[in-house]
Subunit: 264 residues, 2 copies
Amino acid sequence: MTSDGTVGKALEVLDQVAAYGRPVRFSEVLAASSFPKPTLYRFLQTLTNQRMLAYDPDRQTYSPGVRLVRLAHAAWEQSTLAPIARPHVDALSAAVGETVHLAQLDHAQVLYIDKRNANNPVQMFSQAGKVGPAYCTGVGKVMLAFSDPATIDAVIEQQSFHRFTAATLTTPTALRTELSDIRANGYGFDREEHEPGIICVAMPILSDGGRVLGALSVTSTTSRTNLAGLESYVPILQDTASKIARDAQSWSFPDHDAKEQTGR
Amino acid sequence: MTSDGTVGKALEVLDQVAAYGRPVRFSEVLAASSFPKPTLYRFLQTLTNQRMLAYDPDRQTYSPGVRLVRLAHAAWEQSTLAPIARPHVDALSAAVGETVHLAQLDHAQVLYIDKRNANNPVQMFSQAGKVGPAYCTGVGKVMLAFSDPATIDAVIEQQSFHRFTAATLTTPTALRTELSDIRANGYGFDREEHEPGIICVAMPILSDGGRVLGALSVTSTTSRTNLAGLESYVPILQDTASKIARDAQSWSFPDHDAKEQTGR
DNA sequence: ACCTTGGTTTCATTATGTGAAACTAGGTTT
DNA sequence: AAACCTAGTTTCACATAATGAAACCAAGGT
């Protein structure tokens, strides 16, 4: 399951390089890798030839390659909620005048798909594609809360429960309690759990079948407002979420997970 | 060269699926593919398992997967000019009040890396990652003009020279003439060659060594201005480009191509 | 001149990918 | 309903391609 075939291994290497967030040397990758030296070397070569990685011969470093940017554009337009949600997110952003996030659950992480920053706009790519922990973000908890039990277990399993702030939930038990609160309410908050001073309300985007398609959040700072203030956005968030869900349905956004295909 | 190993083949398939720009069925891919049925089938399975592709079991279609979005985020931040250029592009955009593009040459295509749309902002990812033809865009021609002869030949070789508008350059000869004009001037235009009514000025971003790092352009419409009007932006474009080049240098942006590594 | 560290190449061994052919599930025609 | 497609999936003997221990090379350092 971990790796299917050579391709899986190569992608594992690609992921690893991307994870560093900065150009890395061969030896660094090697040290962290489970592959023996020549094998890893060949993977890096192949990926570089394929422009999935870029190699800087001067510094002898590898970093993720431009080919990915092109591919991701296609992925973003076809396999995410972003294009469907765009007009609704725009409207929401305009109405609330605060930062709005659109996220999906990928793997066991929160993947930010789109963002509107009311004040200084722009800089989307820098945010879209970003990943965050599921256990201490508004969108993460909300998506998790409405996932099926098996997924919840699997995801919780993979969380680090690193303490970012004093408010961070650091145990599976605390998180599970929070999740059932969220299920009861229909929405959730981030109470400075990830970054001090940063709070948000998050709303799941649910399909008719009750499946989690993604989540929306409105983010602000404790200096500007408080949880009660954010809670006033719940109706419009609710409305936006259901509109997105409706459009996603009619556009026939896949309601199922890609069923686990029997690998090798 | 065409394909190095299994990984290369798999990525070829991935590219092919992404190129459709919409979910595709197995048989469609098969028809266009050089791989025999079971081989292709296995590749699609592997890529799906790896979430490089997403499979919709209802419609039996494949589309690029979300994992790419995450990877691309890293690529965008590390292997493109975008993060370095961002402040300068912001400033340029604010100064000219027109749409600004930042592009790099990838393969034989123009890859848009960043964009500022003065009026209705946002919607970057939808643009970043987008590709366009090199022979009939301002940025494409400008980057090509300052590339080394071998690259020029190779790129021209791969152009389709499809006629988009009456002004499109449709022959290698016409393009070569245009390129030497651009070299002489130091910048270039798009004279409605790609889309009617759309014109732009483009400026190459050159390293100290004279290597093409990317290109900037200011785009407008014939209803708002004309080529002479756009030409007035040349000084600020020049300035912006050289600032980006400077920063790229000091940040040690790879000045060389990833040297062709001897594949299998 | 002699190590050491980091990167690259070789090559016999073995695992993996390969694809013709056979199979299955829906749908359509006779 | 039986025969017949068409599109997708599985099998399996075979060949190719991946593997990694070991050897090699190139810089720097001592």
